[in-house]
């Protein structure tokens, strides 16, 4: 069997002002083909104005096994959120 075309992750910017969002993946032999496959697969219904494609193999992901260490320490840092602070009702614009 011949070698499979590499997998690429596809990101679409729905409209200017928004960030690119992951929508799925395609197989393509090279970067131009990856853009075209992404265009022909994921933007057929006017879903976007810009595309990113990234080789799936090049994506570095956090390990879910370390999820607790990575993300849970943020849980008790409630002082990072505005609702942590009590301001009297009559004080406005703050």
């Amino acid at each position: 069997m011949s070698k499979e075309w590499p997998l690429w992750e596809v990101f679409v910017r729905a409209k200017n002002g928004l960030s690119h969002r992951h929508v799925g993946s395609v197989h393509a032999a090279d970067d131009r083909m990856a853009i075209e496959a992404a265009r022909d697969t994921y933007t057929r219904r006017m879903e976007g104005v810009s595309l990113w494609v990234v080789r799936s193999a090049d994506i570095v992901a956090s390990d879910p096994g370390e999820g607790a260490a990575l993300f849970e320490p943020a849980a008790d840092k409630v002082y990072r959120h505005p609702t942590f602070y009590s301001i009297p009702e009559h004080v406005k614009n703050i």
Binding site: W5, H27, A28, A29, R32, M33, E36, D40, T41, R44
Partner: protein, 243 residues
């Protein structure tokens, strides 16, 4: 005999229709799912163009499904069979590069409808040309087999290129009045584009050969009749029915 504009619209519409029909044959059978989707997008663009151009000439469906070969005015290139993927790409390569130049100029037409259709379609065919050019390079500069196949495909299609640049008595007055594009003036740029991509594909320019022509006056190859008998089957078998 139809008037000049009608005839011109038929030529434009039939080119898109017949090639769209051909590409539709690929749907579900392409080398890779991604390629299947791409080819279908191209087919959809072409069927859309055909609908608009034929709409200038009359009832688009009646024209598409009730004319016989002698009344079809597409160029011979688009009716050529798909063959293998290389042959399909070679056909698309020659045609889309021409159609892009044609539509670019047609956006300047004094006929507002033609100009508007071209304005929409030129973006579509620019993409078709890009796809075809890239595949020419991949196949030409790919493996020994792909190279042999694209050389064969191009060899099949090459003799139909000259017809794209013909101007006859029907079109001449339309050119004079600023309605139609003088395709003769596009030849130089087309030649350059073809040469550039072939060079990138490490392919030789095919040898000049006697041009095959006649599509614009209804003198077609044998392939068109079979294409039409399939495409028109329902409308012919059930005359007067609406679908």
């Amino acid at each position: 005999m139809t008037d000049g504009l009608t005839e011109y619209a038929l030529r434009l519409g039939d080119d898109s229709l017949i090639l769209g029909q051909r590409l539709g044959e690929w749907c579900g059978h392409a080398p890779m799912l991604e390629v299947d989707l791409s080819l279908t997008n191209v087919a959809l663009d072409l069927v859309g163009q055909a609908t608009l151009f034929l709409g200038i000439a009359g009832d688009a469906d009646k024209l598409a499904f009730h004319r016989d070969v002698l009344d079809f005015k597409n160029c011979l290139l688009v009716e050529q069979p798909n063959g293998d993927f290389a042959q399909t790409i070679a056909r698309q390569f020659l045609f889309s590069n021409w159609q892009e130049l044609l539509f670019r100029e047609l956006t300047q037409s004094r006929n507002a409808t033609l100009a508007a259709i071209a304005g929409k379609a030129v973006k579509e065919v620019a993409y078709h040309a890009r796809l075809a050019n890239e595949w020419m390079v991949r196949l030409g500069d790919g493996t020994a087999e792909s190279r042999a196949r694209i050389v064969n495909g191009l060899d099949w299609m090459w003799r139909f290129g000259d017809e794209l640049f013909d101007v006859d008595d029907v079109v001449e007055p339309l050119i004079a009045s600023g309605v139609a594009v003088d395709v003769r003036k596009l030849r130089g740029e087309w030649d350059q584009r073809i040469a550039r991509t072939l060079s990138e594909a490490t392919l030789e320019m095919p040898k000049p050969r006697r041009a095959a022509k006649g599509g614009r006056i209804g003198h077609h190859s044998e392939h068109l009749g079979h294409l039409l008998s399939e495409m028109q089957f329902l409308q012919r078998a059930y005359p007067g029915a609406t679908w």
